[in-house]
Symmetry: C2
Subunit: 229 residues, 2 copies
DNA sequence: GTCAAACGTTTTGTATACAAGAATTCGATT
DNA sequence: AATCGAATTCTTGTATACAAAACGTTTGAC
């Protein structure tokens, strides 16, 4: 629980948006939401500002705040950028990673494998998040780590759509191993290439993601997408 | 002039911050600024939110809004990310650029050279901006273009510090030519490599930038940087 | 002289009031 | 029946009021 109500409201709304409680283009009613959260319009509007900054809603002057789910092609674009950012993190990390962080990566890869074999999907998810977080940090560039983390978080609701298939999970573990080895041997080219492919949406992943997207509550409204020319 | 006062105030404050009118860590006084801009605290606080989202100020709960100039090493990190983003844009653009955009790049490179030879530094600056903007767009990834543009804008006040030296300008023009050729021939590796080096702060550029940074009004307060552990 | 506690002042965060701009309704006209 | 426009209702943007938290200062104890 935060000291500022505006922050609490932002978190609550963020959760509601990424779990698909609002349709794309839906207007966030200030008065209704203010009543629901037992706050006035002031902190609510501050929350809107923050949500707009992270791209979850669009603020249209004199019209209101509208939730904004990415179109499929926009999501693919975001994953492409994520893949490139992680590739850069990997390349830099291979050269810069300190021994203690490398040890943490090693431990996380092992924990990830253990969770996978135990069928502990929550554990797997958590360790996988940690793995990527560590790669960001290992880049030795705090700004890069921060930006990567930001996009990672934004893609979180869509990443859940991926990796459900059993075969993908095994491939993912193999790639973790490859990345670890590349970091251990300082092989920046391999770290870069494997991380890019690890994150990129391509081949079979593309079709899986598309199928999941179509079924999800986070679809964009084609009508509205057409107007964003 | 914008319809919302909050937006006007944000623009004005942004300008004041990037021109160094506030010292690092200085608190933005709501009451004083409200009087100065002839608005109430409400739109002013909305402006603070937006500035915080773009990293120009830090919002500390129950304390206020404090301007945040990057430390030198933070600035270097941002340039490193910018170089990598532009490198990615270049790689993708070499494969995806449409003929009409390629033509625009060609025209911009020529205009840039003309401005340089004419000693028209404002013209040079404008055409150079346009050149980079085109590379972002040419990537064919709107999200990447948008993120690149965002960081580009954030680095604008610091980029002015670079490129003042005459030799740098000539080198820069040569690199533009190399990038154009790479795009024309679809040589993604070269486009990527040249763009990375074009933007990266390395070699002599590092020292020039450091010297300018030290003299500028956009320095971070070392006391405060130390506390950001 | 140093430290700390209590008081008063300043400043932030939130609620509320109000004006101007959008949206909607409903009737008039073609 | 469809369309235009005026009147009404809603909604946003901004000002202002007020409570609670942070800050500074004075006072007092050791």
């Amino acid at each position: 629980m935060n000291t500022r109500m505006a922050d609490n409201v932002r978190e609550a709304l963020e959760q509601m948006i990424v779990t698909g409680e609002f349709a794309d283009g839906e207007r966030l009613d200030e008065i209704r939401l203010a009543e629901r959260f037992h706050v006035s319009r002031t902190p609510l509007r501050e929350a809107f500002q923050m949500l707009a900054a992270s791209g979850l809603v669009e603020l249209v002057p004199r019209r209101g705040a509208f939730v904004r789910h990415p179109a499929f092609h926009e999501m693919i674009e975001m994953f492409e950028v994520m893949a490139e950012l992680e590739a850069v993190c990997g390349r830099l990390a291979a050269r810069r990673i300190p021994p203690d962080v490398l040890e943490q990566v090693r431990a996380t890869v092992i924990a990830c494998e253990a969770a996978a074999h135990a069928g502990d999907s929550d554990g797997y998810y958590r360790e996988n998040e940690h793995f990527h977080q560590l790669i960001y940090t290992a880049s030795g560039n705090d700004f890069l780590a921060q930006e990567s983390q930001r996009l990672h978080k934004r893609l979180q609701p869509f990443r859940r759509m991926q990796l459900r298939v059993r075969g993908r999970m095994i491939q993912s573990l193999t790639e973790h191993r490859q990345i670890l080895t590349a970091l251990e041997t300082g092989d920046s080219e391999t770290a870069e290439a494997v991380l890019r492919d690890h994150v990129a949406v391509q081949g079979g992943k593309f079709n899986d993601l598309m199928a999941s997207y179509k079924q999800s509550n986070l679809r964009a409204n084609p009508q509205l997408v057409a107007m964003r020319g």
